[in-house]
């Protein structure tokens, strides 16, 4: 019998070269995703990787699984459709902070509460890179380097992990692109945890937010004991500085999946109309 060697993370990389700026944190996320998938151990064709629009949303093409690069903000809806139609597939979604939390904000909230078994990687760089550096929903209110909001947005940023917890997300983790091996671990944990998992990855934009290179000094690991209680996690996250990495919440809600009983037939459906 021909026993195939297990796939390595390189086997999950495609030959399409990323268009990202050298130095971008998304390279590390790509590396982390491929490492997580290699450890996950399923054949490439059993994985679907869905994204929206933005720099980070280009990621599916750089992997060697089935992918969908959709329209802006709707990655989670497509991903939910894939998983609900084909429960046998492992489904990942990815995108940026603008794609996921601004234009896709409504889907984000409902994906958290719907709890379809999939893993969502948000590459958060607090900026819209693909349209030349505008403020995103996670940008600080006093960031003045965008021509669109030269005096800053004056609007409080959203904290993705807190929003997710409030909306009912079942697994919440935060990683840092500078630590791709840990991000890989978090993604794999997310895949293995039932229901909807959010992995926020602090992924510096060296072009529009060069100061984010200093995130390396700001990040710090959590104590390694993720809360399983919403109230406790809420309390912890309320005073979190946004740079704690690790699993922040691991809930125990059951994943959503319609039953599909299949106990009828077209003929039976037609009989109901016969008079």
């Amino acid at each position: 019998m021909n026993v195939q060697a297990p796939l390595t993370h390189q086997d999950f990389k495609s030959d399409v070269k990323p268009i990202w700026c050298p130095g971008c944190g998304d390279f590390s996320v790509l590396s982390a995703v491929t490492k997580a998938l290699a450890e996950h151990g399923r054949p490439r064709e059993q994985v679907a990787f869905i994204s929206g629009i933005g720099c980070s949303s280009r990621i599916p093409a750089y992997t060697k699984v089935y992918g969908f690069h959709g329209v802006h903000g709707r990655a989670l809806a497509i991903a939910a459709g894939v998983k609900l139609a084909r429960p046998d597939l492992t489904v990942l979604a990815a995108g940026g902070d603008g794609d996921g939390l601004s234009i896709g904000g409504n889907h984000f909230m409902h994906a958290c509460r719907r709890n379809v078994d999939m893993t969502y990687v948000v590459m958060d760089n607090q900026v819209y890179g693909m349209t030349k550096g505008q403020a995103s929903p996670t940008t600080a209110p006093d960031w003045c380097n965008s021509k669109l909001t030269p005096e800053g947005t004056g609007i409080s940023p959203v904290e993705p992990v807190r929003l997710a917890l409030a909306a009912g997300c079942n697994f919440i983790a935060r990683g840092f692109a500078g630590n791709p091996n840990e991000v890989a671990r978090l993604i794999l944990e997310g895949i293995n945890h039932p229901g909807f998992s959010l992995i926020q990855v602090l992924s510096p934009c060296v072009t529009y937010r060069p100061e984010q290179r200093d995130w390396k000094q700001a990040v710090h690991a959590s104590d390694g004991n993720p809360s399983q209680l919403v109230a406790e996690a809420m309390h912890r996250l309320a005073s979190d500085d946004g740079f704690t990495t690790g699993v922040l919440f691991a809930g125990n809600r059951q994943a959503f999946m319609p039953p599909r009983r299949g106990l009828g037939s077209i003929a039976e459906l037609e009989r109901k109309f016969a008079s």
């Binding site: 093409a61 690069h69 409504n106 008079s275």
Partner: protein
């Protein structure tokens, strides 16, 4: 008016039960072997609003409301002015009101019909648990000559589970109404029920659309409720479960269309149903389905627009957005059922087309068909099922968007080894890799256009009836009145041909040219204010020199008489 049918309107407000009575009357007609049609007209109130059940019962198959009602039974006159225009009456018609509710109001009285009184409220009060709508129903059944046994049998089937007391009260009220009707003036009576051995169905357009989709193989639906499309989804939810499929309620139409894209990408024939405002929200992602060549179906049950418009009433005014609403050059399919039964056939055919052509399709149904219920001959079984061209496993050098002669490229389904690809809304090369090169853009635009243009759509593209040098071109729910008008015109010695388009997009100029061969005059019939269909035909087809248009916005339906009159006038 037509000797083979009788039309009845039951109206009331404040939960009087006009709809329930209408439903029972239709079911009883079915029981007695008749054909029939029931549409409804409602106010915007969630509960207790004015409501009219509008029925036509017939000894022959019918596809249209009549020009007027032979009998109007008004349980009360609350807000009758709001839909009096939808209740045309003739001099020979009979209006039955309750003396307690006062005189027949002017908007109804102006039709000049005969009026009679039946103290329905007082009669109901004498029966413990008696309801006014059952009094009216009993009276209506007797007046039009529908066997009371048929009504009683439906009543016991429907109310039986609510307990004996409820059924007994209803039965007693029904009989009291029937007794009371004996004192009332005569109205047009039903001819004998046909004994044609034709298997009959009792179905709404929205149910028919859902069933057609299921017959074609739809097994995944993402839903967001919207009037009047919701019943398609409500019908499909338990039905999908029975067939091993699934329906999921989405957070909005942006999500529902994208979930459908995801489901279809994953290999499961997928669809959603909506109405105009929902379709507007979906259009960006319909463009994605075009570019990524993801088959899917959207059933748009049209209502009065623009904006929230008139959610509960019909109009054919989403034609423009369905045809022209997508950004970029985005070839896609638009189809339209032209009767309640055809909601099944057209939706089934459309799923087949969308899957065969790997492109999104919009089915333009409307409230008049969707929320109407008909007694029809069982629709024919059609051979149309979803049959996507799928890539073989480990296809060497697999190219998802390969430029082929037909324009259709084999689609790899997740799970198929060796064929992984990334579907993309960005313009791409044959492999699917994003490309902004002119050559890739042109090649992909051409293939997406070619696959629709080259496909053999066959006879389903239009229903063509009759042969004459005058043709009526119509679509959707206007087809019923046109068919009836042509029968009546023929009785007056006027011949006309009907062309009812089922395939709106792509336009098929050669088929139309063949259908219009020898035609010198064309009458176009549609239900929109800005003559959307007429302008669409002008843009895509060569029409004869003489063209006339009957175009009215909703909520008033196009009636056969207006079409007949136009044809008669043309003849002179």
């Amino acid at each position: 008016m037509a000797g083979y049918s009788v039309s009845v309107a039951l109206t009331g407000s404040g939960g009087a039960g006009a709809m329930t009575a209408g439903q029972i009357l239709l079911d009883a007609a079915s029981k007695a072997g008749y054909y029939g049609l029931m549409t409804r007209s409602m106010g915007p109130q969630i509960r207790g609003g004015e409501a009219a059940a509008l029925l036509r019962i017939s000894s022959r198959p019918i596809s249209s409301l009549d020009d007027h009602y032979d009998l109007l039974v008004a349980f009360d006159w609350g807000n009758i002015n709001r839909f009096a225009a939808e209740l045309p009456l003739a001099a020979g018609s009979l209006v039955i009101g309750d003396p307690e509710q006062g005189e027949v109001p002017e908007p109804i009285a102006k039709f000049g019909a005969r009026a009679a009184e039946l103290p329905m409220k007082a009669m109901a009060a004498e029966i413990p648990g008696g309801r006014i709508n059952m009094i009216g129903l009993g009276a209506a059944a007797v007046l039009i000559g529908l066997p009371l046994d048929a009504v009683l049998s439906v009543l016991s089937a429907q109310l039986g589970r609510k307990g004996e007391e409820v059924l007994a009260a209803a039965t007693q009220a029904l009989k009291a109404g029937a007794e009371g009707a004996k004192m009332l003036p005569e109205v047009a009576k039903l001819p004998a029920a046909p004994v044609d051995g034709v298997k009959r169905w009792n179905i709404s357009g929205n149910e028919a659309a859902g069933l057609g989709a299921l017959k074609a193989g739809i097994r995944f639906v993402a839903a967001y409720p919207i009037t009047p499309g919701t019943e398609v989804l409500e019908y499909m939810a338990p039905s999908l479960d029975k067939l091993g499929g699934a329906l999921v309620q989405a957070e909005d139409e942006l999500a529902s269309i994208n979930m459908v894209i995801g489901g279809s990408f994953a290999g499961i024939p997928s669809m959603t149903a909506t109405s105009g405002p929902g379709l507007a929200l979906m259009t960006e992602s319909l463009g994605l389905a075009v570019a990524s060549e993801t088959p899917l179906v959207v059933v748009d049950v049209m209502r009065g627009g623009p904006s929230t418009g008139i959610p509960t009433k019909s109009e054919q005014s989403d034609l423009n957005i369905a045809v022209y609403g997508l950004h970029g050059d985005a070839p896609h399919l638009v189809t339209a059922p032209n009767s309640i039964g055809d909601c099944l056939s057209t939706t089934q055919w459309t799923v087949y087309l969308a899957e065969a052509l790997q492109t999104p399709a919009i089915v333009l149904s409307d409230q008049a068909m969707g929320q109407a219920r008909a007694l029809i001959a069982r629709p024919d079984d059609l051979p149309y099922v979803a049959n996507r061209l799928v890539a073989k496993d480990n296809a060497e050098g697999y190219l998802r968007y390969a430029v082929t002669e037909s324009g259709v490229s084999p689609m790899a389904i997740p799970g198929s080894p060796g064929n992984n690809y990334v579907a993309d809304g960005l313009e791409h090369n044959e492999r699917g890799t994003p490309s902004s090169q002119a050559s890739d853009h042109h090649a992909q635009l051409d293939k997406r256009d070619r696959k629709l243009a080259k496909f053999a759509y066959g006879e389903m593209w239009a229903d063509i009836e009759g042969d004459a040098d005058v043709a009526v071109i119509t679509w959707g729910s206007c087809t019923g009145p046109v068919q009836e008008a042509l029968i009546r015109a023929a009785e007056k010695g006027i011949k006309a041909k009907m062309i009812s388009l089922r395939l709106i997009l792509p336009a098929l100029p050669e088929m139309m040219a063949a259908a219009l061969k020898g035609v010198k005059k064309v009458l176009i019939v549609e239900q929109s204010h800005s003559e959307q269909f007429y302008k669409f035909l002008r843009a895509h087809y060569d029409l004869p020199a003489e063209v006339a248009v009957i175009a009215h916005p909703g909520p008033l339906p196009i009636r056969p008489a207006e079409i007949v009159n136009r044809l008669v006038a043309w003849k002179k």
